[in-house]
């Protein structure tokens, strides 16, 4: 017998759960102010996320997918990307989006049931939130093809979840990227659970990173709760792609500490002990310990940061709840570059029967007529 192909999957960790370096310090982390900046961004998204869940619970926001526990992966990816790169998000990666310039107000607007949240002022070239699972991976590959054809030194980065790796579109995107040496990086956020289905029931493979092998591209696993490792691995992959050396697949191992969405109840299908174990290795503790150890952080700074984050979140929420309901014309705006004639009549009908004067309907995320359990969100 002759072996014609073999593979191995590397696992990268730099900062262990206790905040100790287990590998050489990456260059970006030599600047302690940069590390502080990343920690602040992680804290900011966690404060925002907590508030967003509360807004949903009090009927001021629609169904919302929390990002609790994903802060190191999301902020690490954001910090590794360049502004001119293109992000193809799923729907939970607020840490990346906030880093890139999407605002809290815009995130709330989208989850408050208003398309204007997708018209963000920040990275105008980034894709919108993408609910149909794995479809965005092909968009990223296509954007990368555009950069290649147009000779632009830019990369696309697509997120996908562990469950999403079961979709055909994911394999198709990897295959295309490999076959055409595209400047694209795929980041699997493996948080253990696709709503109620654990990774072991999605796939028989030992890692999700090895899905890269079939597409002939490099795959690597990284501790997704370690922001140093995430940023380092993603930076390397982006630079490889940028110099024309092809795509990569990165599996970031983390844990969904929250329910899938506010319409989900994870206690139905997973044990408290598992969640408790995950809290012990969550991403904030280790980076804070590292900063304290380095003399760059203390309780006073922490208190001040939390106050600052709360102020920012409160300001965003205030702006969000003030946002008036869109007019019914919004259903017809942007459907085409120029609205076809037959839709003018329908637009007039919509205006005539508009419910905007009805009580309760003008507030964002006004409580629905049914309990939240009746409006779950898939995926």
């Amino acid at each position: 017998m002759t072996i014609v192909a073999e593979f191995k999957i590397d696992y990268r960790q730099i900062l262990d759960p206790n905040g100790r370096l287990v590998a050489p310090l990456p260059r970006f982390a030599e600047d302690i102010d940069e590390v502080v900046k990343m920690y602040e961004a992680m804290t900011r998204v966690r404060v925002f996320d907590t508030k967003a869940v509360n807004l949903q619970r009090t009927g001021q926001l629609g169904t919302y997918p929390p990002s609790l526990g994903h802060e190191a992966t999301h902020v690490g990816v954001g910090a590794a990307m360049r502004p001119e790169d293109v992000l193809a998000p799923v729907y939970r990666e607020y840490g990346t989006q906030l880093w890139r310039g999407v605002t809290m107000m815009e995130i709330l607007t989208y989850w408050g049931g208003d398309e204007r949240g997708n018209d963000f002022a920040g990275p105008r070239h980034d894709f919108a939130w993408c609910v149909p699972i794995a479809t965005q991976t092909l968009h990223a590959a296509g954007a990368a093809m555009a950069f290649k054809v147009r000779r632009e030194p830019r990369c696309a980065l697509a997120y996908i979840g562990d469950g999403g790796t079961s979709e055909g579109a994911f394999y198709e995107a990897l295959n295309l990227a490999g076959a055409r040496t595209l400047p694209v990086v795929f980041v699997i956020v493996n948080n253990g659970w696709a709503i109620s289905v654990p990774v072991a029931e999605q796939t028989a493979t030992k890692t999700l990173a090895q899905k890269a092998v079939a597409a002939g591209i490099p795959g690597i696993q990284v501790d997704g709760n370690d922001i140093f490792a995430v940023r380092e691995v993603v930076s390397e992959a982006l630079e490889t792609a940028r110099r024309g050396a092809g795509p990569s697949l990165i599996e970031a191992l983390t844990y969904r500490l929250s329910d899938h969405t506010t319409a989900d109840d994870a206690s139905r299908y997973r044990s408290d002990s598992e969640v408790k174990e995950a809290w012990a290795i969550e991403p904030m503790i280790r980076i804070r310990k590292y900063l304290v150890e380095a003399g760059a952080w203390n309780d006073a700074k922490e208190t001040s940061l939390l106050q600052d984050c709360a102020r920012q979140v409160d300001a965003a929420v205030a702006e969000y709840v003030r946002l008036a309901k869109p007019s019914t014309d919004a259903m017809f705006d942007h459907l085409f570059a120029a609205l076809p004639a037959h839709l003018h009549e329908q637009r007039a009908t919509a205006r005539k029967y508009s419910s905007s004067s009805k009580p309760g309907s003008s507030k964002p995320g006004a409580p629905p007529s049914q309990p939240d359990a009746s409006k779950p969100s898939g995926h």
């Binding site: 629609g62 408050g112 049931g113 398309e115 055909g168 309901k325």
Partner: protein, 320 residues
């Protein structure tokens, strides 16, 4: 209604070992709407299986399972996620019997939530039944009450051909109704006359029966007698019931949540125009969703046809 759907699953699994339930989160979680709640505990993880997160997988494996002795009842978690499954449905599931001259067949039910109105996220409020109705070789069913959901789902599972079973999300928890768990199926390919009347026929289905029955009550208070027909099986259409009603009333209003353009309402209007034009005393009216994307939820109630739109359409047929 969601409990009635779970009951129908339970009855049929109890009485037919070939019935298996597959889909995303249908097992321990009991479905994101709880439509399969308790089934895995009762029938085991082989007969109630969580699938990998892949809609094409669900439809394609259903073809394989159904052609080889099982009767899959598959859940697609939301209609907006149906589209990767369409390749398997159009190219294989619906033509397996035809292309093999009856040698292989696909007794599959694909259940999926239908329509909006519950403040759900993007892609969770679709009503794209027209895409399915256009496919030959498949039935498309949409119940409008717990009892009809129970009886029609049993009929769908027992049917030897594939059935798309669309469950209006607004009705999942909107009404309470005693359902007798007696295994009695309701007929497919038949409309249900929900209200008898003489002045106008209103044909609708799914959650729009709510607005239509409110309109009917309002009209009745003003002395206008509307006959309300729940289409129930959207494909193939029970022309006989509709034509008999129009022969009696001479007026037809069709109400649906889906976009108007090439909607199922257009097919009903065409059937009446072809067979009963001379029975009509007024132009047929359609009250439908707009030909736009289903908006996110701050505007969804401006998209879904209102009671007043239905009443105004009826008045139009009476005064024209």
């Amino acid at each position: 209604m969601v409990e009635a759907i779970a009951l129908a699953h339970g009855w049929e699994m109890q009485h037919d070992d070939a019935v298996v339930v597959i889909g995303q989160d249908v097992g321990a979680n009991g479905g994101v709407f709880r439509a399969t709640a308790g089934l895995q505990a009762r029938f085991g993880a082989e007969r109630v299986q969580d699938t990998p997160l892949a809609e094409a997988t669900i439809a394609g494996m259903s073809v394989g399972m159904a052609t080889h002795g099982l009767k899959p009842v598959a859940e697609i978690q939301f209609m907006g996620f149906m589209y990767p499954a369409l390749d398997q449905i159009v190219n294989h599931m619906t033509r397996m019997r035809y292309r093999t001259r009856g040698r292989l067949s696909c007794p599959v039910v694909i259940r999926t939530p239908h329509g909006g109105g519950i403040h759900a996220p993007e892609h969770h409020s679709e009503s794209t039944e027209t895409l399915l109705c256009h496919i030959p070789g498949i039935r498309v069913v949409c119940p409008s009450s717990p009892a009809r959901a129970y009886g029609l789902l049993l009929a769908a599972i027992r049917d030897p051909d594939p059935v798309m079973f669309l469950e209006p999300v607004r009705l999942y928890r909107a009404m309470r109704q005693e359902v007798t768990d007696d295994g009695q199926a309701l007929p497919l390919d038949r409309c249900f006359v929900l209200r008898e009347g003489n002045d106008v026929t209103i044909v609708t289905w799914g959650a729009m029966t709510l607005e239509t029955l409110r309109a009917e009550a309002d009209l009745a208070a003003r002395g206008i007698s509307a006959e309300v027909i729940d289409l129930a099986t959207l494909s193939p259409i029970d022309s006989e019931t509709i034509l008999a009603s129009v022969a009696k009333t001479g007026r037809l209003v069709i109400v649906h949540e889906a976009a108007r353009n090439v909607g199922v309402g257009a097919e009903i209007a065409a059937i009446v125009a072809e067979h009963a034009l001379y029975d009509l005393q007024a132009p047929i009216q359609r009250v439908a969703g707009f030909d736009t994307i289903m908006p996110l939820f701050r505007l969804e109630h401006d998209y879904i046809p209102s009671v007043q739109r239905i009443i105004d359409a009826v008045h139009f047929t009476l005064t024209d």
